[in-house]
Assembly symmetry: C2
Homo-oligomer: 224 residues x 2
């Protein structure tokens, strides 16, 4: 991310780190989070196992970086989609972003599970993760903010959301938009998550129409 790695050494270091993470993502796609092995990554890169410990403190640190990269990738994907459809109606932009979320998840199910599946036991998400999760959440929130009416917060959920909005800074979308965005996130996550873990396979339900119905349900619900 930082533009200029000064020394050639740092450049090389950055390059090695990236290749390690690339190989790790390949292993992730094949065998899931628990299948990522420092030794196997090193072998794939043509070095011995312990060499990688010059680049990552331990296996968890590597996974943590993969999580951050995953969030970043998701956020950039959704931002790009929102930008591509910036001329369309907010409703359609929301539909596109939602569909993009699902497509992103299905394109790399294991990556989705790395972010939203079983957390690594002793894992505590660093601050950066929250910010990146925020970024991924934004395109949905922004689209809905254009549709939402202004209105005073009412109820426990509204109060929490307003508090979060103030703490977070930046623009202040109507509380109705926050409400709807959180519920949209939850509903999208519900369908996508069930689809990715193969829960629908047992009942022969194709998740596509279900997903569309849930997207529409968010738009159709009254703002209250």
């Amino acid at each position: 991310m930082s533009a200029a790695p000064r020394s050639p050494r740092e450049r090389f270091r950055e390059q090695t780190r990236n290749e390690a993470k690339r190989v790790a993502m390949e292993q992730l796609a094949v065998s899931g989070p628990s299948g990522i092995s420092v030794n196997a990554i090193a072998k794939e890169m043509g070095v011995t196992g312990p060499a990688l410990y010059r680049y990552f403190a331990n296996r968890d640190a590597l996974l943590t970086e993969l999580v951050a990269d995953g969030y970043r990738d998701l956020a950039e994907t959704l931002e790009r989609i929102a930008h591509e459809h910036r001329r369309r109606s907010p409703e359609n932009r929301f539909r596109e972003v939602a569909a993009g979320f699902r497509a992103w998840a299905l394109a790399g199910p294991q990556c989705f599970l790395l972010l939203f599946g079983t957390p690594v036991p002793g894992y505590a998400a660093p601050e950066e993760t929250f910010e990146l999760a925020d970024r991924a959440f934004r395109p949905i929130l922004d689209a809905l903010a254009e549709l939402a009416p202004e209105g005073a917060p009412s109820g426990a959920l509204d109060r929490q959301l307003v508090s979060w909005r103030e703490r977070r800074g930046g623009p202040r979308p109507p509380v109705a938009a926050l409400r709807k965005a959180v519920r949209a996130w939850s509903r999208l996550h519900g369908v996508i998550s069930l689809e990715v873990i193969g829960q629908f396979a047992g009942m022969g339900v194709g998740p596509e129409p279900l997903f569309r119905a849930e997207v529409e349900s968010v738009l159709a619900e009254p703002w209250v």
Copy 2:
């Protein structure tokens, strides 16, 4: 489950298996699915590692049984709740079952994740799992079936659901109930899943009011 283990040997065998699974569940609660270690279980039980391989083919077989037990426990919990509230209105019964699902998940988050989180890599759910998942799904479906109007299926989702209903046998709830039950399952799963993986912690949103809102949204939505 089978009532009478004939020989004292089989009785002892069953007992040892159950204790191993009990210890495994303790480890699961502490360190998550990947933290379950055959060796550690054995040590906790006062025997050496390989001894347990007389009772479980391998680590995956043990995890598979834990998954089945988890589904069974969830199904029985929801069935019990539905039975306890059988005199109340279907709406309230649905509310209670939904709340029970969430309470069950929060009581044993790691168990929830074992069932609905990242699947174990080489794990293929046996037939039994689908039946047990069905059982857990039933109380929700039954409550909604009492409310749903009859009606001809319309749309892709409806066709799939009808096909599933026929394949499954037993009573034939209205397709509108199937539709709503699947969407209810998806929505409940969305909130609960995000709550269990701690996704709401970053935004300071207490999941309780969100969960209530989602439950009500299922009931409030038109049957169409």
